[in-house]
Amino acid sequence: MPIAYEYRLRIPSETDNLELIREFVTKVASKVGFNSDDIGKIELACDEACTNVIKHAYAMKTNNDKKNLDISIKTDAEKFTLVVTDHGKGFDPDSIKMPNMREYLAQLKVGGLGIYLMKTLMDEVDYQMQPGVKNQVRMVKYFADKKKPHSARGKQ
């Protein structure tokens, strides 16, 4: 098989499309050889990123604007790169504090777990913002045997 693959999905930004998005991403992840454990992690990370777009990105837009969500997957010999793009209002990712889970649970908080989950589930997560133009979150998962020492985060 050729070494590099590209997949893209564009879909209306609505919660009832999350199922289709998960099916798409799990199919591709399984095609490129991840085990069911990693497929589950990629599925959840992708759902969280897309749920954020649906809940937050287009909050200000009127009903007539096109509210789309783009997912792109690129794979090469060493990694699986998932990019979720919206064209909404954007936000400052540095301003989002990651939860301390002990406090979180002790105080019975609600919400605010999406980005934390994405970072826990994937090897790399970074945001690029151009509010109103395009806002992207890029998430990388390395193939088990190709994980570079400097990107390993001692998880699992």
């Binding site: 199922e19 759902d47 749920t51 002990r102 777990l113 826990t120």
Partner: protein, 119 residues
């Protein structure tokens, strides 16, 4: 589409919710409605059976966090049982087992309301 559905069975003063399908941002409101109904009926002893739940995202986890305080304030609790490894992993990843009793057998989850000391 049977994306998500809930079956409820009342056993004495305990209510068991069987979740079927997937629990994500689209279907989480259905579970919220069901928990609100239970609270309105003052049924605070709740067992959630995850046997037929195939997927959960943080939107689903958030539903439990949103009602647990009210339910405990009324002397009740949410006990959880029969999670597949895939579902349990998500709860575990976030440390939820420190906050909720999660057991394998439904009978055991019900018992926890009556013999909590054996926990």
């Amino acid at each position: 589409m049977d994306a998500f559905s809930i079956d409820r069975v009342n056993k004495n003063d305990c209510s068991i919710l069987y979740l079927n399908g997937f629990l994500d941002a689209h279907t989480a409101p259905d579970l919220e409605n069901e928990l609100e109904k239970l609270i309105a009926e003052e049924r605070f002893r709740i067992v959630v059976n995850f046997k037929n739940l195939t997927y959960i995202s943080s939107a689903g986890l958030g539903v439990f966090m949103g009602y647990i305080e009210t339910i405990r304030d009324h002397g009740g609790d949410i006990k959880m049982c029969s999670m597949s490894p895939k579902i349990f992993r998500v709860f575990d990843l976030l440390g939820f087992p420190t906050l909720y009793d999660i057991v394998q057998e439904e009978d055991r989850a019900i018992e926890l309301f009556f013999k909590p000391e054996q926990k």
